[in-house]
């Protein structure tokens, strides 16, 4: 295959895969954020059981490789006679993993907010959800944005693992392209550049959002 032809194939194949990668990563990051909040809330709960369960979940999810969780999620339901869509298994596996890490990040964020701010909110009669949404989350997000963005970048890289269950994301498409072109060096270099570009963009926009969030407060 000649060079211009190869370039055209790459341009036709890989960006679509990158979009799938980013879509799945974003979905997993948001789902992981909710899981993280939930775990964090259980972890901070005065109920011993909730605290313990959350602790075990966090340790397990951080300790088991994503690939293993992914394969389990993919094959276990079929053992029970259920069909597990590969995209769903992929999002779940990634979300559970990043959720455990996000839980720890968020916990540090919540812990750094002075208790008095909560007491003021209680004394005024604010509802718990409103306190979370208006008082806590904006501050926690501002404080932990750098770590959360870092977590998202790790997630994008980890998402290459889901190619093993035939989700046609960036790496999977690259493999398919290599199979027809026999040009692994060029194709995987292009793949690497796309991953890198995506992550640089995420880091850059994360930085912008962070600036926005903390603007004005410092005096």
């Amino acid at each position: 295959m000649d060079a211009p032809h190869l370039l055209t194939s790459i341009i036709h194949t890989l960006p679509g895969g990158l979009l799938v990668t980013l879509g799945i990563s974003l979905l997993s990051a948001v789902a992981g954020f909710v899981i993280g909040l939930l775990l964090c809330w259980m972890r901070c709960s005065p109920l011993c059981a909730a605290h313990a369960i959350a602790g075990v979940c966090i340790s397990a999810l951080r300790g088991i490789p994503i690939l293993v969780v992914l394969l389990l999620l993919f094959y276990l339901p079929s053992a029970a006679g259920l069909e597990m869509p590969s995209v769903l298994a992929a999002v779940l596996a990634l979300a559970l993993n990043t959720g455990a890490f996000q839980a720890e990040i968020l916990r540090a964020g919540f812990a750094s907010i002075p208790r008095g701010q909560l007491e003021a909110a209680y004394a005024l009669g604010l509802q718990d959800l409103r306190i979370l949404r208006r008082i806590l989350l904006p501050q926690v997000l501002g404080l932990t944005m750098p770590q959360l963005v870092n977590e998202l970048i790790i997630l994008v890289k980890n998402s290459s693992l889901i190619s093993v269950i035939a989700v046609t994301e960036l790496l999977r498409r690259s493999e398919q392209l290599v199979a027809v072109t026999y040009r692994p060096l060029e194709v995987y270099t292009a793949t690497a550049i796309l991953y890198l570009a995506a992550n640089l963009f995420i880091a850059w926009s994360g930085n912008k959002i962070h600036q926005r969030l903390i603007a004005g407060r410092a005096g």
């Binding site: 004394a123 005024l124 604010l126 509802q127 008082i135």
Partner: protein, 321 residues
């Protein structure tokens, strides 16, 4: 006892309230009645349980036994059919707290919100006002505490005294019927104390029921209707400022006030500075006072202010300075 005990029911009653932190017995049977428009100053040595008492009133702190009645209704617990004490649903506590405004020693403003957002948050979400109405109420309140032109500042861009006045505005915007102040001026630089006390005094002048934990004896002597002296989890003595500051029966109360008098005398310089600052503002209404003195607030503000000057002198007289 307070002058108006016979005909009006108390707005707040504490009956034999006890509180432990672990093994430490912090409140050892508190009995107290507070009547409408009364200004009660809670004084006493540090660690005597003043903050804890205040926090039991709005149930930021659970109490172990006894009862706290707000407008006759017990906060925090209800009695089940067989006479046992059961925790009150959170939602009910939230509703009861609307009658109680609280101001903290460390302001506890939300740093990611501007002054007006701090004030309007609960007006919107708890009083369910729409945003326009909430902003109008909040601006009025900020003007009332002399911060009309500061509404878009973040807490970090305000002085301690201004932050505390935002915190007062935030509590007042909820139209509470009782205000609780926990050492509102203790973390302020001396020259900023006067502004906050002015606001509190004008509030007292409007007939707000107030419970104030304070070490400002001048304010207590000049503004309070009732002084309550606490030590080691007990109320040792209560009475009019005149009685407590002149003729306290309890030896420990007298000793405490004497040590205070000495300290105030030694700090005479700071005291004069505060006073001259106030006079400056009085003669030449610039800075934050211009907001309140500009339009509606003017005559009232002046009167309150002069009262306060009077109160300060009275306070010094009480303390024999």
């Amino acid at each position: 006892m307070a002058p108006i005990t016979v005909h009006t029911p108390p707005v707040l009653q504490l009956r034999d309230v006890h509180k432990h932190f672990g093994d430490v017995h912090v409140l050892k049977g508190i009995n107290l009645e507070i009547f409408p428009s009364q200004v009660v100053c809670l004084i006493g040595p540090s660690g005597s349980g003043k903050s804890t008492l205040l926090r039991c009133i709005n149930f930021l702190e659970e109490y172990d036994c006894g009862e706290v009645l707000i407008f006759g209704e017990r906060i925090g617990y209800s009695t089940s059919y067989d006479g046992r004490r059961v925790p009150m649903p959170k939602e009910h506590i939230r509703v009861m707290r609307r009658d109680l405004g609280m101001v903290f020693q460390h302001f506890n403003l939300w740093p990611h919100m501007t002054a007006v957002e701090n004030v309007s948050e609960a007006v919107r979400s708890v009083k369910k006002k729409n945003i326009t109405e909430a902003l109008r109420i909040s601006r009025d309140m900020l003007a009332k505490v002399g911060l009309a032109d500061m509404e878009n500042r973040y807490p970090a861009q305000l002085s301690g005294g201004q932050q505390q006045r935002v915190a007062i505005a935030r509590a007042l915007a909820m139209e509470p019927r009782i205000m609780l102040f926990d050492e509102p001026t203790s973390s302020l630089d001396p020259e900023l104390v006067g502004d906050v006390l002015d606001v509190m005094q004008s509030l007292a002048g409007e007939g707000m029921t107030m419970i104030v934990v304070t070490h400002e004896m001048g304010f207590a002597a000049g503004v309070a209707d009732l002084i309550v002296f606490m030590e080691d989890g007990r109320i040792l003595e209560q009475g009019t400022p005149d009685r407590i500051f002149h003729n306290a029966e309890n030896r420990r109360v007298r000793a405490f006030l004497q040590s205070y008098g000495r300290r105030e005398k030694n700090a005479g310089k700071a005291h004069t500075a505060t006073n001259s600052h106030n006079k400056g503002v009085c003669n030449e209404p610039t800075d934050h006072h211009s907001g309140a003195a500009g339009s509606r607030g003017c005559p009232q503000k002046r009167t309150a202010h002069q009262n306060h000057q009077h109160a300060r002198h009275a306070g010094r007289r009480y303390l024999g300075l």
